[in-house]
């Protein structure tokens, strides 16, 4: 799947919206939502999220990503994915 990095936030957001309403009137507000604090995901559903993003974007999250504060927001996830897509595999 070929995808421009500009499309990543909307694609990540769409996954959350396919599972229920994401709070926020604008795309920018939705990207800032802390999806754990908003109760959109539990710990088991995180596994589905990670698997979905890895398969969709052809990336692999590393331990350090799970420890980052931005992992908890939709926009932060999109940032991490964009970075992974542009960083050559070690």
């Amino acid at each position: 799947m070929t995808m421009n990095n500009d499309q990543i936030p909307a694609t990540v957001c769409a996954w959350f919206e396919s599972r229920g309403a994401v709070p926020g009137a604008t795309q920018a507000e939705k990207l800032g939502v802390d999806y754990f604090a908003a109760g959109l995901l539990d710990s088991l559903q995180v596994v589905e999220l990670v698997a979905h993003l890895e398969q969709t974007f052809g990336v692999r999250f590393e331990d350090r990503h799970f420890q980052q504060r931005r992992f908890s927001t939709i926009g932060g996830l999109a940032e991490i994915v964009a970075e992974l897509k542009t960083t050559p595999a070690p």
Partner: protein, 392 residues
Amino acid sequence: MTSPAAVTRLSLCPDVLFLVDGRGDWIASNPLARIHVAVSPSAAELLRRLRAPGELSAALAGLEGLWAEDRTVFGPRRCALDDATGISHEPGRRLAGAEAVALLRERFVLLEDLAAYRERFGPKRRPMDPDRFGNFHQQIGQELLLRQRVKPDDWWVSQKFEDDLSGVKNTAYRKVQHEFLEREVPGWGLAGKRVLDVGCGVGYFAEFFRRVGGAAEVLGLDPNADYIRRAQATFRAPGLRFETFDFAKLESLTAHRGAGFDLIYLSDVLLFYFVSYKNKPEELAGAVGFLSALKSLLAPGGRIMVMDPHGSFSLCGRYGDPAQPLAVLGEYKRRVWGIASTLEPLGRAVRAAGLAVTGIWEPCYEGPVRDAEDAFLKEFPVWWVFELRALP
């Protein structure tokens, strides 16, 4: 213009111990946070200079060849009772200069704010909570789901038993738990008796009580339906039964089972009633209710045997060498990482349930010492076992 480093005041984390590992590297080891970083001799000098808070730029003056390497792993890999200290003995990615300093800050070897660091010790308040380290259950959940990408329920069985459930793997489970039961169960007087295994999992020990103890009837209960299906498919013998069962309904067993049980066995079950225990009476109520329900299921003269992770040593830091293993405790009364009860709340729950402790064992490994794990398990008990009987 002042560089950002020049205005940063840092200090060495007071929880850090320094070790020299088998490769000759200095390890800045934090047994509370279970975080470990190998450092160059010059980085060790930097940390020495920052014993008192100081300007980073001044502390860096004259230091060359600075590097740091994260040596942290989540300890329990083969089994849940593996060494939880979390020191990796494999070389990691070596970072130099400013990146090394950044790693030391990221991994809490160097601190900007001691109070904020202390706040990180506590259970995660939500999945992936980046502000708290979390307790053992939370960390192992994250390890299994996100790093190893395995289902915790499946892993739990595979880390303990052989794939065909023919035996217990050669970990602490066999060296301590299984060997203790092999030594003791023949003397428990189970021949012709009724046994209830509460939290029987995949049924191995329920069958063990029938085969080794000679029990006439063994009923294994577990809330996990997949485990019970596997137990039913694997262990078939007269008098051996397994049922999926919600422990909240234990008292209802009395009504339709008739006579009570001579032995009720709990292995790694009771701890879950104490995980969030904070010395508050209302939090003890769950354990009291559970034990009271078990008591109502006992036959006259019957007993409850509780095998639980040891309140001190089950997940404590393991240091030292096989000649003299060291156990490093960072907590006892205030449980942050540990998940087992300490003695006092356990004793209060037992008493409030109308039971009395009539026996205590602290099983250790009794075989030959081949490595550091054997040495630790020989010196320190990672489970304790209580015999409980009804008060008159």
